[in-house]
């Protein structure tokens, strides 16, 4: 049984559970919509189109970050029901496959949220991107993966703590700061057309490669910590 097929098995199971319960995706969608509305009330984007262009990349990334935070704990909480997590800890299959499968599942649901959110943003904030819009197709998936891969890892780590709902953002945000910065800068570059997002894409790629590797290497350690 190859590693990829085990990852696929975990991914299939997570997607199936998410489709049946729709716990996290509904929460994320509504939460991010609320964030968009709250920010729009705070900044009045239609009267100041230039400012709207400059800040909306950041707002969207922050909205996605906060929304995904609500889903990350949820994605491990379902493993705690009926102690299924113990079955994973006792399983002979590689622990990191469980992590990769779940990270991909979380990534896909956050991407769905972004796909719904992007048009909402364009309408509510009256946006006309001045840079190369197609570059967003690289920026958003890379940035999302960088948030989700660490988020999935730290949500698993928080399972072993008291107040795990509180702890996750406290640990995740400082670690994610460089990738969040890169994602916001690159998105802003595309929206305003003031500068090239290439540098920030490179930062994102480096960040993704480095942290995906560490997460995969260290996941077994935290899964089996007792």
């Amino acid at each position: 049984m190859s590693y990829a097929s085990i990852v696929w098995g975990h991914l299939r199971k997570d997607l199936r559970l998410e489709l049946r319960t729709k716990d996290s995706i509904n929460g994320m969608l509504f939460f991010s919509l609320l964030v968009v509305v709250v920010f729009a009330l705070a900044f009045d984007p239609t009267s100041f189109p230039t400012i709207a262009r400059q800040i909306s990349g950041g707002l969207m990334c922050v909205a996605v970050l906060f929304a995904s935070m609500t889903a990350l704990n949820q994605s491990w909480a379902r493993e705690l029901n009926n102690h299924v997590l113990d079955a994973h800890r006792l399983s002979p299959s590689p622990a990191s496959a469980l992590f990769v499968g779940k990270a991909i599942a979380n990534f896909l649901s956050v991407m769905v949220v972004e796909l719904v959110l992007a048009p909402v943003f364009i309408i509510f904030y009256n946006l006309h991107p001045l840079g190369d819009s197609w570059k967003l197709l690289l920026i958003l998936p890379l940035g999302t993966w960088s948030l989700v891969v660490n988020g999935t890892f730290f949500a698993a780590l928080s399972l072993r703590t008291r107040n795990r709902e509180t702890l996750l953002p406290l640990v995740l945000l400082p670690i994610t700061m460089p990738s969040l910065l890169a994602m916001i800068q690159a998105t802003t570059a595309v929206l305003t057309g003031d500068f090239e997002p290439t540098l920030w894409l490179k930062v994102l790629v480096a960040y993704v490669v480095v942290f995906t590797t560490i997460c995969v290497l260290l996941f077994e350690t935290i899964l089996n910590a007792d």
């Binding site: 199971k13 049946r20 113990d86 006792l90 299959s93 007792d226």
Partner: protein, 249 residues
């Protein structure tokens, strides 16, 4: 001077014929002592029931043997190796089902069959899952969600999940809790049948279970080990099971 049990250790060593060996194991959670210097040897083929009150350390023994926890002091081996490296050979069933409520029984078992590396193709995995369900008498409920199952059906599905992998060592934590007498008897019969089948390499299969309902487990277990306050207080039955109190004396 060597005691009898030490000589037996010399002979058997870390031989695979010894299914489980706890050597002077202590387990602490913070400053709470769950187990205190426990030594226990289960030869392959033995069936042992752990008795004791709540908090006596029964579940801790199972956690250590399954590899879910590591001892604070002392050593645990399963078939001569660390429990973590024997995962394929150990089947664990807790009081929780370890199944996803939102998936059907078939989806659950196919998934766990794949995680246990029981087959390559999807049809092969589905076949294994279906026959495991048939053996516990759940084949009419294959496509129903586990959340719709009664408590007895859940326990049987959980048993199917464990037996499907054909483990050499079965660890059951309170398997009969929340079951009516009929379902519990059915489960005991299924277990007796499983244990009487020859295991891998001709070695007989080993069972270690905890329960409050000793009467139900009587047909299963030839030996009883009673724990109290994290120590072994009594061993009855087969003398091939060696308790720590005699070793250290």
């Amino acid at each position: 001077m060597m005691t009898v049990s030490e000589m037996r250790e010399e002979v058997a060593g870390t031989d695979a014929a010894i299914a489980v060996r706890l050597h002077r194991v202590s387990k602490l959670y913070g400053s709470f002592v769950a187990l205190r210097n426990v030594s226990l040897t289960l030869p392959a083929g033995s069936s042992v029931v752990l008795l004791g009150e709540n908090g006596a350390g029964k579940s801790t023994v199972l956690k250590l043997v399954s590899g879910l926890a590591s001892p604070t002091y002392g050593g645990v081996t399963v078939f001569g190796e660390r429990p973590q490296s024997q995962r394929g050979a150990i089947g664990t069933m807790g009081h929780a089902t370890m199944l996803y409520d939102e998936l059907t029984a078939m989806e659950n078992l196919t998934y766990f069959a794949q995680m246990n590396g029981l087959g390559e193709s999807r049809s092969e995995l589905e076949h294994i899952a279906a026959s495991a369900m048939r053996e516990v008498g759940l084949d009419p409920a294959l496509t129903r969600h586990v959340s719709e199952f009664s408590q007895g059906m859940r326990q049987r599905a959980s048993l199917a999940r464990v037996l499907m992998a054909k483990p050499q060592l079965l660890l059951l934590d309170e398997p009969f809790s929340n079951l009516d007498i009929g379902s519990a008897r059915g489960m005991v019969e299924r277990l007796i049948a499983y244990l009487s089948e020859p295991g891998e390499d001709g070695l007989a299969r080993t069972l270690l279970l905890t329960t409050h309902q000793h009467e139900l487990a009587r047909p299963l277990a030839k030996t009883t080990v009673t724990l109290s306050g994290g120590q072994i207080s009594l061993i009855e039955g087969d003398d091939a099971v060696v308790a720590g109190t005699e070793v250290t004396a």
